[in-house]
């Protein structure tokens, strides 16, 4: 027998007390695991949505522009930074030679005013290759169809813009913009479809999609001139690809002052700040749960100390040091924590995996952020964090009451016990 056997026996003999603490450890583990997976999935989904609809995994643009300029939904009217035809050709050559890339597309992105009669609506127009699949994953159609690759005069409108302007699929709508030479142009487009960007509508993100040729007409760009090229990298290879591209561009005389290469994580500042509000609320809830768990542990150990004053006195009398008695208490908390942490982990993982298969159907307003069906994803990297938080809280909160309980004077406790 070692002294932890005493801890183990105490845990199982006082099983009701162990259960009451264990229940909270189980709940904290389960909820922490569930919420961290929830947050991680939400973050990944939103990142995916913004990647599909706006930024790609990597964006190449003119040097000197900031990440904020390229993601901002309120760009500066008529002040366009763009890549020249030769630069775009160089980038395309490099991209075609790279193996870590899934696909890429050239884009023209500018600000424009939608106009129908006397009704106007400021918007961000994204001109792209209509055959690109990513924007179709992001833009959920409610009516009509996606852009026809054979037509250059079509637009996809967010449904709320279409409603505000009073246009339907098949109607024409004007776009008024300032060209790169700061001349005002008005171009008529046909509404091919209406819908909204998956998960991003609640963040007031309402892009208007059109073809590259449509955007050229609005910006005055010549063939081959682009505001940016976005790249969809192989999974987990964004950073590597970004570094490779920046290095390869430098060898072609295009350093970061000429062409800036940014990954989604580098660009996603505003997205993360929005998500952080949701994350904050969830972590505040977990924090309250952990504080309750800590109070329970403190209370439990003080109770154990009171109940076992005579036992502690006996152990001190036969030569056990205060530290050894503290170790016995900590041993009990460690055993209870381990048992219920493992149970919480198993049930949590099982439920998350089940829900990831089934999906959680959501209604308004949650679907605006989480999508119509939320497929929570389990992330193994969360387990280590949950482990550290639960064990850290359990052991830290049990330390003080254990020391306090073990610090009784043996003569006093023995006098009480006699």
């Amino acid at each position: 027998m070692n002294i932890f056997k005493l801890s183990r026996k105490n845990v199982f003999e006082s099983w009701r007390r162990s259960m009451s603490l264990g229940t909270f450890i189980f709940l904290a583990t389960f909820l922490l695991l569930f919420f961290t997976s929830f947050i991680s999935t939400m973050q990944n989904d939103l990142n995916q949505a913004i990647s599909n609809s706006l930024s790609g995994d990597i964006q190449l643009r003119q040097g000197g522009t900031t990440e904020g300029d390229m993601l901002s939904l309120k760009g500066k009217w008529g002040q366009m930074a763009y890549l020249e035809q030769k630069t775009v050709a160089t980038i395309e050559t490099l991209l075609n030679e790279n193996d870590n890339m899934e696909s890429y597309t050239k884009r023209i992105r500018n600000d424009a005013m939608l106009s129908k009669g006397s009704t106007k609506q400021h918007s961000m127009v994204i001109g792209l290759d209509p055959s690109l699949e990513a924007y179709k994953k992001a833009f959920i159609l409610t009516e009509g169809s996606y852009l026809n690759p054979n037509r250059t005069d079509e637009v996809l409108l967010p449904k709320n813009y279409a409603d505000k302007l009073g246009v339907k699929v098949g109607d024409s709508v004007d776009l008024i913009a300032a060209t790169k030479d700061n001349k005002e142009v008005t171009v008529s487009f046909i509404v091919a479809g209406t819908g909204q960007v998956d998960r991003l509508a609640s963040f007031s993100f309402y892009p208007v999609y059109t073809s590259l040729q449509g955007s050229q007409a609005l910006t005055g760009f010549r063939a081959g001139e682009m505001t940016d090229i976005i790249v969809y990298a192989d999974k987990g290879k964004s950073d590597k690809l970004s570094n490779e591209l920046q290095a390869a561009l430098s060898t072609k005389g295009l350093d970061s002052n000429a062409v800036k290469v940014s990954t989604l994580s580098e660009m996603g500042g505003f997205l993360n700040s929005i998500i952080s509000i949701y994350v904050g609320i969830l972590y505040a809830f977990i924090g309250i749960l952990l504080v309750i768990m800590a109070i329970l542990i403190i209370n439990l150990i003080f109770m154990m100390g009171l109940e076992r004053r005579s036992e502690i006195g006996t152990l001190r009398a036969i030569g056990y040091s205060r530290n050894r008695i503290v170790m016995i208490f900590l041993g009990e908390i460690f055993i209870i924590t381990t048992i219920f942490f493992v149970i919480g982990l198993i049930i949590g993982i099982a439920l998350i995996l089940l829900l990831s298969q089934l999906g959680i159907p959501l209604g308004a307003p949650l679907d605006l952020v989480l999508g119509k069906v939320f497929n929570i994803q389990f992330d193994w990297s969360q387990v280590l964090m949950v482990f550290m938080i639960i064990y850290g809280f359990a052991l830290v909160s049990s330390l003080y009451p254990s020391i306090k309980s073990a610090s009784v004077k043996p003569a006093e406790t023995l006098r009480e016990g006699s």
Partner: protein, 229 residues
């Protein structure tokens, strides 16, 4: 050779602003291998005296010597070591750990004696369980034993570390008189066989007559020392 020496020992407890004297100017000397008792009525200071000898408490004034060690010179770690290696305790309420069985209760002090191997541990436990007549009860929990059996376990636990001194605070108080006498006889046998010094407290005249010397305590003072044989 003196095992325990107390010189001018006084002990007071503070109760609010009042100081309550428990022991007043105790002088005593106990030789190695003696079988002595502290006799006196409840509140006479017997337990306080045993606590001081057992390094569980410190005197307000005076000196307590265990062998050639002055107890007040010891730090907390040394006090633990002294209690572990030099002193064995037997309590009135047995003070066994309820969740452990007989074998494990006896094993408890040996677990923290690093120099005692697992094999030696088992040998010692078996020997002392046999000595107290509880070899066949090793797997029982304290709740499954009679009062006398529980006190025998406490005796085995006190002896298993081979201490110089065994302190027993009213070891028969919670036992019927027949069982009480059996426990004292068991302690006497071990005293003779192992040459361990036994110091026990009692207010039972039948029990105190079993000692070699009786220190009669009245109101915290040694009123009389009686040599029996």
């Amino acid at each position: 050779m003196s095992t325990v020496i107390l010189q001018e020992v006084s002990k007071s407890y503070e109760l609010g602003r009042t100081s309550v004297p428990a022991l007043r100017g105790i002088d005593l000397e106990i030789q190695e291998g003696e079988f002595v008792t502290m006799a006196g009525a409840s509140g006479s200071g017997k337990s306080t005296l045993l606590n001081l000898i057992g390094c569980l408490d410190v005197p307000t004034t005076g000196e307590v010597w265990i062998g050639d060690t002055l107890v007040s010179d010891l730090d907390d770690k040394q006090l633990n070591e002294t209690r572990l290696r030099q002193i064995g305790f037997i309590f009135q309420s047995f003070n066994l750990i309820p969740v452990l069985n007989v074998y494990e209760n006896v094993e408890l002090p040996l677990l923290i004696m690093k120099e005692v191997s697992k094999k030696e541990r088992k040998k010692r436990i078996d020997y002392f369980l046999n000595a107290v007549g509880l070899s066949s009860f090793a797997d029982r929990k304290p709740s499954e034993l009679s009062g006398g059996q529980r006190q025998r376990v406490a005796v085995a636990r006190a002896l298993v570390t081979k201490p110089r001194i065994v302190l027993a605070d009213e070891p028969t108080a919670n036992l019927d008189s027949k069982t009480g006498i059996e426990i004292i006889e068991l302690m006497q046998q071990i005293n003779k066989r192992e040459k361990t010094t036994f110091i026990f407290s009692t207010h039972d005249p039948k029990v105190m007559q079993r000692a070699n010397r009786i220190f009669h305590l009245v109101d915290g003072k040694i009123e009389k020392v009686e040599n029996i044989r």
